[in-house]
Subunit: 350 residues, 2 copies
């Protein structure tokens, strides 16, 4: 655990759709939880569809320079149907992850009290996925020839390096070692993607020797989707590549209470760059501006951020408040985004 800072200088990116609404609640709870002697400074940045349409920009070098000065970034959601698929994803979200070397994409899945899973029975679910964030099929390598013709060929290149794999695998082992069950599963598809698969498997097995207390297993990604719905209680920590991590964390969110409560951190563990925290859900333009969005995932992302910045006690207080709030929901009428934020703020300051 790193030393906690007495100031938090936060870049805030509300973004598109419900991003605006949920981020406001995240900040409300953050202000409420921080002790008097920790100063919170925030600066809001305009990214996403609006700025893209107005200026054609998604994320400039100057933007990166500005963002770099902050301690952390809180993001709501980026994306709108008015922007062609891929433009904001590659031009903003992924560009930022790569520029700030967010190689640990942390996504906890915990079935909290009072939350219904779509699974029959109510299995105990409490695991965390450590998804690699800067390699794999996400690098943008590849291309297209003879575009739009009957002879078009399009390639996507998954790039995997020993350096990139080892650092995320080490991070995952350290997390597994620190948890009571001390279990770590590597998820890949090493029987088909044999080049990348062997690299991942070899590095994983090598690092495992340094962690004799951690129980390890290997699982193909297709089999993992089965276990996630039939035996989710089996998982403790999972480490996996960028694309497999993308896929299984959405599934994990679905089985452990929905993307309304799924938090994530795009982390640069060495703190050379600010890490970014965001709910797993998207901008949900269909319900934007109606006060219907559940800000819980954003609030839980704030907790991940506090933990990363060394404010463990405050992170735990937020998580406890969320658990209590969810448990109290049963049978109650639906609340607005603002009301949920107020309730959580009251609980953490209480």
């Amino acid at each position: 655990m790193s030393a906690s800072s007495r100031t938090i200088d936060l870049a805030v990116i509300p973004g598109d759709g419900i991003g605006q609404e949920v981020v406001a609640q995240g900040l409300k709870v953050l202000s409420a939880v921080l002790p008097q002697d920790v100063k919170l400074e925030t600066k809001e940045y305009d990214f996403g569809a609006r700025r893209y349409h107005a200026t054609g920009e998604t994320l400039t070098d100057a933007d990166l320079e500005n963002l770099k000065r902050h301690d952390a970034i809180l993001l709501g959601a980026i994306g709108d149907p008015s922007v062609p698929s891929g433009v904001l994803e590659r031009g903003f979200l992924l560009k930022l992850r790569f520029a700030f070397d967010h190689h640990v994409n942390l996504r906890p899945s915990k079935l909290l009290p009072g939350i219904a899973t779509p699974l029959a029975g109510q299995p105990e679910i409490d695991f965390v996925v450590v998804r690699e964030g800067t390699e794999g099929p996400y690098t943008g390598n590849g291309g297209t020839i003879r575009k739009g013709t009957a002879h078009e060929v399009a390639t996507e290149v998954s790039v995997n390096t020993a350096f990139g794999v080892e650092r995320v695998v080490r991070d995952a082992f350290a997390r597994a070692q620190a948890r009571p069950r001390k279990k770590l599963a590597l998820i890949h598809k090493n029987n088909v993607l044999t080049f990348a698969g062997h690299l991942w498997t070899n590095v994983f097995n090598k690092v495992a020797e340094e962690y004799p207390e951690v129980t390890t297993e290997y699982m193909h990604v297709d089999a993992a989707t089965i276990y996630l719905v039939t035996q989710p209680e089996r998982f403790d920590v999972i480490v996996t590549d960028n694309l497999f991590g993308d896929i299984i964390t959405d599934l994990a969110a679905a089985v452990s209470g929905g993307i309304g409560v799924a938090a994530s951190g795009n982390i640069n563990p060495g703190r050379e760059y600010p890490s970014m925290f965001e709910p797993v859900h998207g901008s949900a333009p269909d319900i934007a501006g109606q006060g219907k969005a559940d800000p819980t995932a954003t609030v839980l992302s704030v907790a991940l951020m506090l933990r990363h910045l060394g404010h463990e006690a405050e992170a735990a207080r937020i998580e406890d408040a969320v658990s209590a709030d969810l448990a109290a929901r049963a049978g109650q009428p639906a609340r607005t985004t603002d009301e949920i934020g107020d309730a959580l703020a009251a609980r953490v300051s209480g």
Copy 2:
């Protein structure tokens, strides 16, 4: 529907583990369902772990020549922990799919009566996944440099061609058009894998113009995993790439009754080469030889094979028999592999 043949010349590959046991039941039911005037000829081939250990061979050119002469191939399962990961997958399973141009990998998901899904509630599930079988990240393109060192780089190249995408998309549209609900979903990740994603999306939209009655939608693969557990009833036909199809069909099998009943066909629609039919499950060495394996997935794969060969009535009779058998299972003691095969054979000949 193509004309049905009066002889079926079948290559049988029992393979490893439970493959032997389940294939025997598949053949039993096949013999029972065929009318007197259809002659069944079978030839058994030895592939898998045993042959690999004895000879070092997985699938030779001579093997391919022999297999090519048959009308179809029935496979049990290939794979054993004694063989390094990838050797039999790339050396046999994928080699055969590529050599015989099995570009349509057909995987129906239907929640049959009496079958429990791990999902709360019992949603109606009845969809079919058309998975591309000869392109994408499965081509074996890629490589490794500086293997085993701290500077290793491993790549995997997903190869997508307009030719390859269009033929499988066309197959899926034709299947959607023939079904009552006439719905087709394209699943990809076109916001990140923009080169391949745009090719898939453009081809899909172009072919859609020829099928005005088919309702289409596009879904990212991560979002699709959520819908598969929260709204599986929403799907009718799905078309997707080789890797995404691998992942979501295991998830689909899990939500629609488990891989004990999941059938698949590796199809060459033009019949230039024999198509291959196999259960989605693997060789399950842990329960092999104990009579515990459920042969239902293999029997349903035989039904897919009969439909492909033009024997629609017999295919339907097998499917009805399976439905009736599953419905009768509730509360009954577990039966052996052989007993289930006998029961199904009795039903189809009755």
